[in-house]
């Protein structure tokens, strides 16, 4: 009679094999979980690396523009009417009085010119001057350099038509679209 076969089979084979299988199963589960976790982390890591490189390139691209952008932001934050007048006063101080005269200034918040085709807020400025050609050119150069948000819509230059009081000064009428933030 074989009384011990079952015990030997149970304790000698079945239980050790079950223990090994359990151990292997635990190992597989652990490794599988780790791999899943790793895959998730790896995907995030790859996204991170891609984003990091992109951010580096973007940072590099905008780093040299940031200074200008800050200045632009300051300019755009100002009211265009007062900014134009302030700048014209400052410009006028550097120019001969008789060769540069602002004779009219109007501001319209209605859309026009470039402002009519874009969603960017803007206003329309109409300014009338009298002055000599070169002095006015210098004044425009200074004004448009100081205020790059001014986009010229129209410029008219006409001689003085008053035959009774002939003058070397010309009449200038400019219309600007002033971008606003």
């Amino acid at each position: 009679m074989k009384f011990y076969s079952q015990s030997i089979a149970l304790f000698g084979i079945v239980l050790p094999v079950l223990a090994c299988a359990l151990f292997a199963g635990l190992g597989f589960t652990l490794k599988s979980n780790m791999l899943d976790s790793y895959d998730t982390k790896h995907a995030l890591f790859r996204t991170y690396e891609t984003n990091r490189v992109k951010a580096h390139h973007v940072e590099k691209a905008i780093s040299h523009q940031r200074e200008h952008f800050d200045r632009w932001s300051e300019l755009l934050a100002e009211d265009p009417s007062s900014a134009v007048n302030t700048n014209l006063r400052a410009i006028a101080e550097t120019l001969p009085n008789k060769e540069f005269q602002k004779t009219a200034f109007e501001r319209s918040t209605s859309k026009g010119g470039f402002g009519s085709v874009t969603a960017q807020p803007s206003s329309q400025l109409r300014i009338v001057f009298r002055g000599t050609f070169r002095t006015m050119q210098r004044a425009f150069l200074e004004l448009e350099s100081r205020m790059p948000q001014l986009q010229l819509q129209e410029l008219r230059i006409e001689p003085n038509t008053n035959q009774q009081a002939p003058s070397a000064l010309l009449n200038y009428q400019v219309n600007y679209t002033a971008w606003e933030n």
Partner: protein
């Protein structure tokens, strides 16, 4: 534990028969003398064993001492196991099978039943089974009337053999016991030492001190009957001659050969002569086979038990063939009790246990290998950069990229919106470059307009710039006007302005923009020809022609100067 603390897995002797072991101790008792001999099976050598007495075999205290001495002696011979074969020659009895058990084919079943359920096969049910042991002995001879009988022995030596086995187990030394009926062994040995004469019936008379066994064979040397005559301390049974004669007559044997074997010290030497007078026609022989050194001539059973007939030797009859081959004469009368045997695993179980141990080692190695594999796999994973990566950084860099992207979009947006696409001072520079001083041209009017295209659904919008200049021209200016009225002429002027002012909007080289020019001249109706020295620049009558110049510059939506439609992000 069994594997470590016993040699049952490594020493096969635990599961072998005593007669199959290399080192054997044969103990023979005939009621008068106890003899013991060691037998080295490999060398086929006999040696005298310990001096033993009847008391050594029956007194429990002496049994243990004897067993211990025997174990020491066996170990001194460097034996790894010992077979103890007890030849019981102090008793011999037969008990008849139930008459209805007459099927020779059921002999094997009867053999098993005699061991485990003797009461089911014995005709006399009054014999107590706990004090006796029965073994079936077949009668192969035709016409014997019964298929066999049972040999009965008492169990008085069972404690002795149990003591031997327990001593062996205690010393982790296999001592395998086997109790033989000495007369049965002797009957089996007749085939080698006194083979019956073919064609003649034979009666074998086995003389023992306490009994005489009679074995009757037919003319084919097959066993017809075996019986015994008890005579205890007498030299021989007084009924022997009569018993031989009556049995011979009942079996109708004709002048059988009578073989006498004297199997004890100082037995009746006149038996041959006594029988001669009773059986004058029979050949009566006293058989004295040669025995090995150290073995007395009357001590045949140990020699017969370990000496099989030479290979190829003719077996006299079926009886002698099955007695050794099927071990009818070598049956163990006092085997270990079933409940003792069942304590220990079988040999197959021990092999299984041994194999399982190897399997466990293999499983452990595999488990360790798997663990190492897992460990390396895990180590490989945790050593990668991605494993130690802090996932919060992914969100951080993502947010940072989004912010930077918005910043970049804003920057690009305002970079576009603030492009120098339309400046008053550059247009004035264009005018002064088109008509420099003293070029013979008097400009009367200058207008410049910029209007965007209307193309719904576009991300960027192109635009059109137009310059209109009217004025007067002298003759020398006509060539200039004509030059300006060509694509090359006006493009050259724009290129010059772009270079001088640094304003790329005047650059005509891009394919996404185009320039058109139109100059119309006509005679000045108020022209008055005068000498040159009498004229001045503002005198309109000194100009022979009037002109009308229109320049149109178109920028497509793909042009870098095209304006963004969307609001700043």
């Amino acid at each position: 534990m069994l594997l470590r603390q016993t040699s049952r897995a490594s020493n096969p002797a635990w599961y072998q028969e005593a007669l199959d072991l290399d080192f054997q101790l044969h103990i023979r008792t005939d009621g008068r003398v106890v003899s013991a001999f060691f037998f080295d099976r490999h060398k086929a050598q006999w040696a005298k064993g310990l001096e033993l007495t009847e008391a050594d075999l029956r007194d429990p205290a002496k049994m243990e001492t004897s067993a211990a001495r025997i174990l020491v002696q066996a170990r001194s011979f460097k034996a790894t196991a010992l077979g103890v074969i007890l030849h019981i020659g102090d008793e011999f009895a037969t008990a008849e099978l139930k008459p209805e058990l007459d099927n020779p084919a059921s002999l094997q079943e009867l053999r098993e039943a005699a061991i485990h359920k003797p009461d089911t096969i014995l005709d006399d049910s009054s014999i107590p089974p706990e004090q006796n042991s029965w073994r079936v002995l077949p009668y192969p001879a035709q016409g014997s009337g019964v298929i066999g009988t049972t040999i009965t022995l008492g169990r008085q030596y069972a404690p002795l053999l149990a003591t031997f086995r327990q001593t062996g187990e205690a010393g982790n030394f296999p001592i395998i016991t086997h109790a033989l009926s000495a007369p049965l062994v002797t009957v089996m040995g007749l085939a080698q030492y006194a083979p019956p004469t073919p064609g003649k019936s034979t009666i074998a008379i086995l003389q023992y001190p306490w009994f005489t066994a009679l074995a009757f064979f037919n003319e084919h040397a097959d066993l017809l009957l075996i019986r015994t005559l008890q005579h205890r301390l007498l030299r021989h049974s007084t009924q022997l001659r009569h018993a031989v004669a009556t049995t011979n007559a009942s079996l109708e044997l004709i002048d059988p050969d009578i073989l006498i074997l004297s199997l004890g010290q100082d037995l009746d030497a006149d038996l041959q002569r006594n029988l001669s007078s009773a059986f004058p026609s029979s050949g009566i022989s006293l058989i004295t086979p040669p025995t090995p050194d150290n073995i007395p001539a009357w001590c045949l059973e140990p020699v017969i038990a370990v000496t099989p007939p030479p290979k190829g030797a003719t077996v006299p009859s079926l009886t002698f063939g099955i007695m050794r081959d099927e071990k009818w004469a070598l049956q163990d009368f006092l085997p270990p009790p079933k409940e003792v045997v069942e304590i220990y695993p079988t040999r197959a179980e021990m092999r299984l246990l041994h194999g399982v141990r190897l399997a466990r080692v293999g499983a452990f190695v595999i488990a360790v290998a798997v663990a190492v594999w897992f460990a390396f796999g895990i180590l490989e994973i945790v050593r990668r950069d991605a494993w130690t990566f802090n996932t919060n950084e992914a969100d951080f860099i993502k947010t940072r990229l989004q912010k930077l992207s918005v910043e970049l979009q804003k920057s690009e947006h305002w970079d576009n919106m603030l492009e120098d696409r339309s400046k008053a001072w550059t247009s004035m520079e264009l005018l002064s470059r088109l008509f420099p001083e003293r070029s013979g041209v008097l400009v009367k009017n200058f207008s410049h307009t910029v209007r965007p295209d209307t193309a719904p659904g576009q991300a960027k919008i192109g635009f059109v710039k137009e310059w209109k200049i009217t004025g007067l021209a002298r003759d020398e200016a006509l060539e200039r006007l004509n030059t300006l009225n060509t694509q090359e002429g006006i493009s050259a002027q724009f290129s010059e302005v772009a270079r001088i002012t640094g304003n790329p909007v005047f650059n005509p080289a891009l394919r996404t923009r185009s320039i058109a020019v139109n100059v119309r001249t006509q005679e000045n109706g108020s022209y008055k020809p005068l000498p040159l020295e009498e004229t001045y620049d503002t005198d309109e009558s000194s100009y022979s022609f009037s002109f009308d110049l229109t320049i149109t510059q178109r920028f497509e939506t793909s042009d870098p100067m095209a304006i963004h439609v969307a609001k700043a992000p």
